[in-house]
């Protein structure tokens, strides 16, 4: 009896929390909901999306009401959360992790009047748009810096899940590194989590113990970079500028800037001009930015800036041929660049990555 009342109280407390946020507004207000995979305080991926949400509030003031649900597990749980947001009168819902893709599509079919925006996915619908950043451009620059900075010629890469987005980042990093130092190699450790500071840090320690002197990560916490700082090697920030976690170790950081996109899409909903689309913005559009180049010699910083400029102007494409995969087979011929299909579905390691890609 007692247990049942406690659970009931818990359940109602949870749902009231979401509903209260939903019902507080009149219908004239445009309501924008966000589903996050991590906590807004991760200081990485989710933090940057939440900055985008705050940018919407700042831009539109009382005209827009925003809500968010954080630390939502990918999979069935997320479907429940997305449906709840859609059912509680949200006009536009951003789902900000790859694993929310199928649940977003599924819920969108049931709520044709609600607009959905899914980050980093590849499935669109009449009311589902997708958007992502060309973070591999930043990874390539980071690779160039690593190739010039490393003494052991070994990069330690803390990775989350073997999805195309992450594999693309690993390959871009190595292609950048090898463009200046053909002896570079990458060791990858998969932690099978987007966010577990302890495990991310442990993975970084393992990689350093095995000889890596550059640490980079495709997970969401600053822990690997902090390990780099404490062990006296170099590293990169991920999603946000993480300089204060590693003032001596951070060479640069790949910064996601969602703010202009989020503001633009919210305005489209208010004006009634929203249409489904698929955008993939990079350095040129400002969705990908680089933190200041620090802790490196001036000539390396100069080279990094030149690389950044070359990618921005379109003179340089990180996936320009010739590119060989691990078996030595040429997958992109000289004079060509990898097409969108190959980039979006990347499921192979380029030559120089150690180990084999988990299937």
């Amino acid at each position: 009896m007692k247990r049942r009342t406690v659970f009931k109280a818990l359940a109602s407390a949870l749902s009231v929390g979401i509903l209260a946020a939903g019902m507080a507004s009149a219908s004239a207000q445009t309501k924008v909901g966000f589903v996050y995979v991590g906590p807004i305080g991760d200081h990485g991926w989710t933090y940057r999306h939440d900055q985008g949400r705050l940018a919407i509030e700042k831009e539109f003031g009382d005209k827009v009401k925003t809500t968010f649900v954080e630390s939502v597990k990918e999979g069935p749980d997320s479907e429940r959360v997305i449906r709840q947001l859609a059912a509680s009168g949200h006009d536009l819902i951003f789902t900000t992790s790859f694993g929310f893709m199928n649940p977003t599509i599924k819920v969108a079919k049931r709520f044709p009047n609600v607009k959905f925006e899914h980050a980093t996915g590849y499935k669109q619908d009449k009311n589902v748009a997708t958007y992502s950043g060309r973070f591999y451009e930043g990874r390539y620059i980071a690779g160039v810096i690593a190739g010039k900075t490393s003494k052991t010629n070994k990069i330690g890469y803390v990775a989350s899940f073997p999805i195309p987005e992450v594999v693309r980042g690993i390959n871009a990093f190595l292609l950048g590194a090898r463009s200046v130092n053909p002896a570079m190699s990458i060791s990858v450790v998969w932690v099978n989590s987007w966010y577990d500071p302890g495990k991310e840090g442990d993975a970084a320690k393992a990689l350093i113990d095995q000889g890596a002197d550059i640490i980079t990560q495709h997970t969401d916490s600053p822990a690997p970079l902090q390990v780099a700082e404490n062990r006296g090697v170099k590293g990169f920030g991920q999603a946000s500028d993480m300089e204060h976690f590693a003032p001596k170790a951070q060479l640069s950081a790949i910064i996601d800037d969602w703010n202009p996109y989020y503001v633009e899409r919210t305005r489209a909903v208010i004006d009634g001009t929203w249409k489904s689309q698929d955008v993939w913005y990079g350095l040129k559009e400002g969705m990908v930015q680089m933190a200041p180049y620090k802790n490196m010699p001036a000539d390396v910083a100069k080279l990094a800036k030149e690389t950044e400029e070359a990618i921005r102007s379109g003179k340089l494409h990180p996936f320009a041929g010739p590119i060989k995969d691990q078996s030595g087979k040429v997958v992109v011929e000289a004079g060509k660049v990898a097409d969108a299909g190959m980039l979006l579905g990347m499921n192979f390691y380029v030559e120089g990555v150690e180990g084999s890609l988990p299937k």
Partner: protein, 305 residues
């Protein structure tokens, strides 16, 4: 391959588990099941981090972590021992509450970095190759974790209060009839468990990854709970379990770096698989598990006047 750094990393991965499991062991031995370990760890972690980063003293942080864990445990103790609420539900609620309140307190501390706890290096001895850095180059909390589990082992098997605590866990009615203050003893055990969970959290935010990140325990509280069962409520096996768990966690990361071709998803699963496997092996011997499991665990005690 130099294995010293590997062992050092294993120690850091195992210490928080050892702390939390030591505390929960004592709590459960008194007949109380507190599922709020994860929540108490988180509150301990943020309290330790907040105090250490404002005062600049790691020691003050450690004390604050233990104190915060104790406060959380006292809420649990009041609800379950005085108000007689269901322990399982209250423990789960405590974890959810802990996740929320630690995030709330921690909002102002996101993005701060902290110097890790200093290693207590003893001149000369710490410089001995291999055993020097492993045995004599740790931070204070690592040593404390061993002191605590040894003290608990001694307390539970060699002292009168320890035997009384176990008697309360075995049969609270008999202990009550003998005139022992069942509720007071359980309060003490629950508060001790809270303090240990707080220390586990403090270790995470002060030494393991010296930063505050929401939900940074990432399930370690639940692992500690499993470890107590895994250890069949025996202190020696708690140490074994915590270190085995830590070792598998770290070694699977190294194996990937060495290029051993096993699916990383499988590797990530290994620690849990090992726990289940050992659990099954131990549970086969019914007498052994019955001998050690507190008979009154999770049961509400009504004093019959």
């Amino acid at each position: 391959m130099d294995f010293v750094p590997v062992i050092l990393t294993v120690i850091t991965a195992s210490t928080p588990l050892l702390f939390a499991a030591t505390g929960e062991l004592v709590t459960e031995k008194s007949g109380v099941l507190n599922l709020g370990v994860e929540g108490m760890m988180l509150v301990g972690a943020i309290a330790a981090f907040a105090v250490a980063s404002t005062t600049g003293s790691g020691l003050a942080g450690i004390v604050a972590g233990a104190a915060a864990g104790t406060v959380m445990a006292s809420v649990f103790a009041f609800l379950t021992l005085t108000m007689l609420a269901n322990q399982v539900a209250t423990g789960l609620a405590l974890t959810i509450f802990g996740i929320g309140i630690s995030a709330l307190i921690g909002a102002g501390f996101v993005g701060f970095a902290l110097e890790p706890l200093p290693k207590l290096a003893i001149p000369v001895i710490s410089d001995i190759p291999v055993i020097g850095p492993i045995l004599f180059g740790q931070d204070i909390l690592v040593y404390l974790s061993f002191v605590m589990i040894l003290a608990v082992a001694w307390f539970l098997s060699r002292t009168r209060p320890g035997l009384i605590l176990k008697a309360v866990g075995e049969s609270h009615d008999s202990a009550h009839a003998l005139g022992y203050p069942v509720i007071a003893i359980r309060y003490a055990a629950v508060l001790f468990g809270g303090a240990m969970s707080g220390l586990a959290g403090a270790y995470l935010s002060l030494a393991y990854t010296p930063l505050w990140a929401e939900n940074m325990t990432a399930g370690r509280g639940w692992i500690a709970l499993a470890l107590v069962v895994f250890a069949t409520w025996r202190p020696g096996r708690v140490v074994l379990g915590a270190y085995m768990f830590g070792a598998i966690t770290i070694l699977q990361l190294h194996a990937q770096g060495w290029g051993i071709e096993i699916a990383s998803q499988f590797m990530s699963m290994l620690p849990y698989l090992a726990t289940i496997l050992v659990l099954v092996l131990i549970s086969r011997d019914k007498t052994k598990i019955r001998l050690n499991a507190p008979q009154c665990i999770g049961k509400v005690f009504h004093a019959a006047h």
